[in-house]
Symmetry: C2
Subunit: 343 residues, 2 copies
Amino acid sequence: METITIKDIAKMCGVGVSTVSRAINDHPDINQETKNIVMQVIKENNYIPNNSARNLKRSDSRTIAVLIKGISNPFFSSMIKIFENEIQRKKYSFVLHRVEEQEDEIDVAVELVKEKRLRGIVFLGGHFTHTAEKLEQVKVPFVLSTIGVKENNLINKGFACVAVDDFKESYKMVDYLCKNGHKKIAIISSSISDESIGKRRLEGYKKALEDNHIFYNMNLVRTMREDIETYTMKNGYEVTKDLLESNEEFTAIYAISDSLAIGACRAIMEAGKNVPNDYSVAGFDGLEIGLYYNPSLTTIRQPVEEMAFETIKMLFDLINKKTTPDSKIFPAKLVIAESTRKI
Amino acid sequence: METITIKDIAKMCGVGVSTVSRAINDHPDINQETKNIVMQVIKENNYIPNNSARNLKRSDSRTIAVLIKGISNPFFSSMIKIFENEIQRKKYSFVLHRVEEQEDEIDVAVELVKEKRLRGIVFLGGHFTHTAEKLEQVKVPFVLSTIGVKENNLINKGFACVAVDDFKESYKMVDYLCKNGHKKIAIISSSISDESIGKRRLEGYKKALEDNHIFYNMNLVRTMREDIETYTMKNGYEVTKDLLESNEEFTAIYAISDSLAIGACRAIMEAGKNVPNDYSVAGFDGLEIGLYYNPSLTTIRQPVEEMAFETIKMLFDLINKKTTPDSKIFPAKLVIAESTRKI
DNA sequence: TTGTATGCGTTATCAC
DNA sequence: GTGATAACGCATACAA
């Protein structure tokens, strides 16, 4: 069976192709009756218009793409749901596109704009180390959402960002631990080369220690292993196991993500110790699992829903030229749960 | 700035469009030198070919699509990685496409085949209640992977499936609980209307009870709440809370997914009880979190990696016409961990 | 209200 | 090896 085209449908109906096209696209200038007939024939023959051809012709597609780096991050799933709803509510259609770890998201974006005639883009997650020049290749409005950006690099430089202040929130957590009597606080952080989220969270840690007059002990700064996928439970587990075996003394571990923190908890338990009695453990992100874990996880909860709504609002304001690109920093919340205690 | 096309590049280089096309597509009939020049100009101008136009012209795209229902399922992420690697290894390109809960995956597939000139499709997850007739609309080879299919419906009816035997594996778990002295085993299952995975796991539960001469108590059969997203921790938590408050006696809970089981554990702990001392809890799937949870989770581990490899192998065998569609059932493994005990 | 003709950006089929 | 040119399937300006 040959693939069926709009011409075939037109012939079957005894009408011109443009009539069929009008029927498909809910064009106003068409007789309701002929439209019904056309739609009927289309249904009977399982005709589906070729999207490549449509996109090629159209200049306007009312489509928003969300580009997400790494699909496995549970942090994003609730945001995506909101994106989806909000975008549909505005009568736009929504394309979720995953960009692989080694791909350049800007290149992918440029390609997608051409292919799908996008009206706007959301870049979700990942570390963003592009120059402003590179970003300018993207010719449609876009928002960088929950993306770790280099301080003073993109934010305040005319790009639209939605994020939390990783430095400040990280400080908040470490300060909380200090105020609860912890003086030997280990951190599970990202590698030195990371210029993004990880670095800023580490800086928050350092500053909090300093302000609390606590000696900064390099041996307590542990970086994720590079031979294991980063920001995972397994990584947190292995790093913590090493830490415990090093016999370096500490009373708390601050992991820069909840997944890492959960791995840390497990490592501690397997060493026959208790959380939080022997060691306090804190995370960052506010994943759902933190609520259900045992012990429930002390963490920094990012206001994901609000951030998602703001991302879409910002994007549409940009599309409708109501605003110029700007950044919006959301406050996150210190959630105190069972995994940390006062000593 | 106008979008730049192949024509513009051709003019800039002083060559014909076909030469540019040849350069882009690694065509053999082209002088290496002119190719270099063309590629240079392309790079300088950030030219990116329009995929819609390419797909429109091409008959052959060497592209495989993976259609996944619901993006949040952590069960899939490791499979996707393998798909990606394997597909690239075969010099095909890979498109991940998410299909929304209410969408019809077959319609999406048919559309995508036309748009992207797909060579093959993997349907991943979800409940599959399509008729054979409907499936035949898909004109390229496809594999149903880890999809709950109605018994005797699709399997053995000329469709390619990769799955575990949900009935048998569920039986295995419940039988294990029975053999460990549990006589009052609650189940967190799916709603009655579910004709897919959930139903088969429930049937396995029933049969195991029967074979162990245990009375089937309807009050211990709990279904996920429909007002909360299914197969989630929250759902397991709420259902278990209800169960505990009902004062119906039981010594074990078998949840038909790990996420549900984790929610169940939390509900039990919050009621001041202990897992496994007061209640044993078992799950199904073998998610990574089960290893890190406290207590670690007794579960049925599906051999996700093997299943992913087999899925791709099967698909390429189909594409290369080495085989006809067939189903392959993988054995899963009962993983005994800390969340269950003998009584 | 409807049909015809043109072009979207690319690849493939020819000639050269 | 290279360059015109005809499709690919559709939307749309324009004619009817």
